[in-house]
Amino acid sequence: MKENTTAAIEVHNLSVTYDGKPAAWNIDYELPQGKLIGVMGPNGSGKSTSIKAIMDLVPKASGYARIFGKELDEVRQRVAYVPQRGSVDWDFPASVLDTVLMGRLTKKNIFKRISKKDRDIALECIRKVRLDKYAHRQISQLSGGQQQRVFIARALAQQADLYLLDEPFAGVDASTEDAIISILKEMKEEGKTVLVVHHDLQTAPNYFDWLVLMNTRLVAAGPMEETFTSEYLNEAFGGRLNILSQMGDLIKRKKYPIREKKNK
């Protein structure tokens, strides 16, 4: 067993620029293991971009990221990433099983035949996201929510310790959202660390136990009860969402003990 004290993700002074324009600026945080963490902020606030930079999918302008205290290259097998659904062409000639099996591919087995064990793991993950009826269906024939679950199954098949999901609830129906969040919570119970880019403030307190608030720069990162405050939400979302952030306070008061109590 790995000790749980190393940060799942440590980001130090991370900046990303697109065409010289900063997309994420001097991001600096440490996220603990075994938590379900939401990354939130308004559109274009660098949520997805910073995640991609951590995963080395976009170049960093400055700073670094460590995963479980190590370079990404050393821990690739322990990290799974679920991209936005729209980032791939779903008309690609592949079945649900084909797609989920991609989660079993590693640098090492890419030249080998797919083993029976890999196939079984993939099928099990398809069952977990309740797509067993569709295992052999062409992915273009699925609904948006089902496609999202295919991606989640692929990530599950990677049997990683850290999962990063980019807007998994975008454009899915309510029942799929429920199904996905309960899978994520289950993963957390198993000790996995789950990071979710999300932008619905209303559901955030129910879903996550940690929050990273961004607005190009980092606004706050910490446990939900410390970060889900009108002050931080205002700072992240600007004055624009005043009512929403006030409501955030309300939700917070209902769901969470006030700070004094917590510090007992």
Binding site: K52, M55, D56, L57, D73, R76, V79, A80, Y81, P83, S87, V88, D89, F92, P93, A94, S95, D98, T99, M102, L105, T106, K107, I110, F111, Q138, S140, R154
Partner: protein
């Protein structure tokens, strides 16, 4: 004449034998490489590069003074890669859009190629005879050394693809995922680009510069109409290309005046046309049949609904209904109604005796279900979209055939199991 045909297809003539084998290899390997280009949505790159290759061939000829296929290939591949690089460079470093960059490079390189070709042809060098065949392909006139060179390159392509197959597939489908599991995606894309250029360089043997992109992309496009399985798609693409290749070669063997390339493309086009029409996965015929089936089902459901509502009015579902009653309620032509009734009888929803129609238990339930969905939807529209009651019927006519059992449960819950619809008709439940 038949003896002549047999000579070709039984490969009796050793020259023919080698040419046919070379064509099979060239066509299958280019079609498979082309399938990857097709899936990467790089169809146009093939066209640009194949045109751009012409000056490479001419330069190789001018430098070596001969037509040895190896040097011609080398020239073609180098210039092909260069053209690709230039397209990328222009796209990245200027405000010119990719399609413009493609057109620019293609026309400039091809123009240069034609210029060089004209110069070579007027130079009086005897060896140049046949170089112009690169414009439209010369598969049927291949020499032994051509056959060997192009076959080897084809086998090389097939080998590389077999080895890197899974890496290619992941990279094409989801580049980010491929990068994340540690695959060198940039290098893999580079390899795919090189394979494409090689495939084009050998493919122009068969069909020539001008029509090369057809050999690269059409087989994949045609195959996609038949299957959703990638491996089967690749095999089909190869098969289509091989059939067209051999047929085209035969035409120009039988009629030496006929150029090979255009005939191969003619056959490819024929296959594609057939695929578009009757392809089993995306073909016009299948889509149309699917639509017809849905239409048929809608008519049947409407008939059952009409019967149910007739029964509702007289409060009796056991006694038979008259065919004329039904016709009055739903204004179908006699033929359409008869078809729908026949089908419904086959599905045991109704029983027909002369002019009388009996609703079976199954038919009754189905008619009730459609009626329920129709009225539920009307309630939903008035309640949630605040539509007036006289505006909701049309919409419900369409939605009643779409609502799934799960959605029905959801609707019932959301509406809290309403008893009547906006027109005060009861919402029937079992």
């Amino acid at each position: 004449m038949s003896e002549f045909v047999l000579d070709f297809f039984l490969l009796r003539d050793p020259n023919v034998r080698w040419v046919v084998i070379a064509i099979l290899l060239i066509c299958s390997s280019t079609a498979i490489v082309g399938s990857f280009a097709f899936l990467r949505k790089r169809a146009l790159i093939g066209d640009a590069v194949s045109h751009a290759i012409l000056p490479g061939i001419c330069l190789a000829f001018m430098l070596t003074g001969g037509k040895h296929p190896f040097w011609l290939m080398a020239g073609a591949i180098l210039i092909g890669l260069l053209s690709m690089k230039i397209i990328d460079f222009i796209t990245v470093n200027s405000r010119i859009k990719p399609d413009t960059a493609l057109a620019l490079v293609m026309s400039v390189f091809y123009g240069l190629g034609v210029l060089l070709l004209t110069r070579i042809q007027s130079s009086g060098n005897a060896a140049q005879a046949g170089l112009d065949k690169f414009l439209f392909g010369k598969a049927a006139a291949m020499m032994q050394e051509d056959v060997i060179t192009y076959s080897l390159f084809s086998i090389f392509l097939l080998l590389v693809i077999t080895i890197l197959f899974k890496s290619f597939v992941v990279t094409i489908f989801d580049r980010q995922h491929a990068a994340l599991i540690g695959l060198p995606v940039n290098k893999l894309e580079g390899v795919m680009a090189i394979l494409t250029v090689i495939a084009i360089a050998i493919g122009i043997q068969a069909v020539g510069v001008v029509l090369m992109s057809a050999l690269l992309i059409t087989p994949a496009a045609a195959a996609r109409y038949w299957t959703n399985n990638l491996k089967i798609m690749l095999l089909l693409a190869a098969l289509f290309a091989m059939v067209s290749g051999v047929s085209g070669a035969f035409v120009s063997y039988a009629m030496p005046k006929m150029p090979t390339g255009p005939w191969i493309v003619m056959f490819l086009t024929l296959i594609t046309g057939i695929s578009v029409l009757i392809g089993s996965k995306k073909g016009y015929w299948v889509t149309r049949k699917g639509k017809q089936q849905i239409n048929q089902k809608i008519i049947q459901e409407n008939v059952l609904k009409a019967l149910y509502q007739l029964g509702e009015v007289r409060n009796n579902f056991e006694d038979p209904f008259l065919k004329s009653e039904l016709r009055k309620k739903r204004k179908y032509g006699r033929l359409r109604q008869r078809n729908a009734l026949k089908q419904l009888e086959k599905e045991a929803c109704i029983k027909i005796e002369g002019e009388y129609i009996y609703l079976t238990r199954k038919g009754l339930d189905e008619g009730q279900r459609i009626t329920r969905l129709h009225r539920l939807w009307e309630v939903y529209l008035t309640k949630y979209l605040k539509l007036p009651a006289d505006h909701v019927h049309e919409d419900a006519e369409a939605m009643e055939h779409l609502i799934t059992p799960e959605l029905e449960i959801e609707l019932e819950k959301v509406l809290d199991y309403p008893l009547i619809d906006p027109h005060d008709s009861p919402i029937p439940r079992k």
